[in-house]
Amino acid sequence: MKFVKIILIIAFAVSVSSVLYADNSQVFIKAGNLVASGSFDEAIETLQQIPPPEKGGNTKDYVKAQLKIAKLSHALKNFKTAKKASANAIKADPDNTEAKQFLKSVKRESTPDYILFFTDAVRFLPSLLKGALMTFILVIVTMAVSPVGGLFIALGRISRFKPFSILCWFIIWFFRGTPLLLQLFFIYYGLPALGITLSPIYAALIGLGINYSAYLAEIIRAGIQSIDSGQMEAAKALGMTYSQAMKRIVIPQTYKRLIPPIGNEFIALIKDTALVSTISMVELMRSADRLFNTYFNINVLILAAVIYLLFTTFFTFIFEHMEKRVGIYEQR
């Protein structure tokens, strides 16, 4: 009799547990069929029947059910339910990485684009701005150096001392005639073969400086030659030497004419600094590129574009202002 009792208890326990187990698997099968027939809402309702562990449910099944609910709601664009379900799954099983990632992507997807842009901006701007600072330094130094180099080359071009004139012609011919990218590669990767090793920033500044000097040289030369020859004659007739006449009379008159084309070149320069990212300079483009390759987030590129636009707008404004100020004597 006792034996029968024990058998019965075991049989009951087994049947109860099998019924419980079978119950959940039935739910999953039912939900699966409902999904297959396209009744997502009902499938979700069915899955909700699986109780959370604190109400005596099976943790594994509960997590599985909640994840399924999350994915189905996500498919139905019901982000609220999706978020809640994946949060439930994480609560039941804090180590579930699938649930965590899913929650993250649902949160991202359910956030309005403009808010997302600003949260991304806050996230990415510090490292983008660090890159932008380097871009700014490259631009400012090149802007300071290249007009001086350009003036020197331009004066050489119009010099009557032939060797100097030919040398300056050659510099212009070479540096305008080859891609800046190639020049940068040559300076950074090629010069070490000749025993000259430069850090990226010096290689970048030398490359940009010479290239832009060569471009500006032609603009400055044209500017000088556009000044009426009577100006040089009048200066000479007063007894000025050639260099005095250039410095005091001719060159100051070229400023107004030179600012628009040189400003144009400098706008191109701001964007050309992106090329130095190829010689391992970390500037704006390179920072953006790195972030983009890590996060595949298009907002990084948009932010970089905005920073470039701010730069070009700022300098355009400065050049316009300078043009007005420098040409004030021409106003009747």
Binding site: Q231, A234, A237, G239, M240
Partner: protein, 258 residues
Amino acid sequence: MSKDKNILLKLENITKYFGDIKALDNVSLDVEKGEKVVIVGPSGSGKSTLLRSVNMLEKVDQGHIFFEGKEVGYRFKKGKRLPDTPKNISFLRSETGMVFQHFNLFPHMTAMQNVMEGPVTVKKKSKEAAAEIAKKVLAKVGLSDKKDVHPVKLSGGQKQRVAIARALAMEPKLMLFDEPTSALDPELVGEVFNTIKSLAAEGMTMVIVTHQMGFAKEIADRVIFMEDGVFVEQGTPKEFFSSAQTNKRISDFISTIL
């Protein structure tokens, strides 16, 4: 020779080519201190070239130039003609003021700054000393009130008067005028002539190239008619205008410009 001592500028057998064209053909000219020489003639006759040769704005191919009895403008090395050193040329130019047809004022400077430029840059005078001179010469040409104005705001006649002041600020011994009124509206010619006349009255030595016969008659001690790079006729205004009636080339020229 006491007469030579009085000669400020002496041109001796000057010849100048532009390519194959002979712009000046063996021209000689003596200008005495205080003398006013007016050169007239059709365009392309070489009068401007002659004037510009005096202060080395044109380099001649043959001949010699003497200023105050000293040869200027060129060095001769093994029979080869070379321009003099920049320093010597600069000095010669600072002693001869030049006024251009198109004024050639420095547009980026005020009238005052235009006038001060020579004394400051060339003569290395202090700003204060140069400003003193500038005020004086601007007053002389009657433009004291325009001293802080840029050339763009001046009329043609005013521009030319500033240009004269600019030349005068260098305290030159000789003034060269290259068609000073040709670019002016007729009603503005008078003010420039009056300025030149008052300068003449002070005893300034001048060589003037002009088309204005009336002015030539009034101011000149000597009038020279130039054509094809040679002096065709020269004399006092009286002699010149009477010979003009007999010389067909001169009378033709005069009738074309009147």
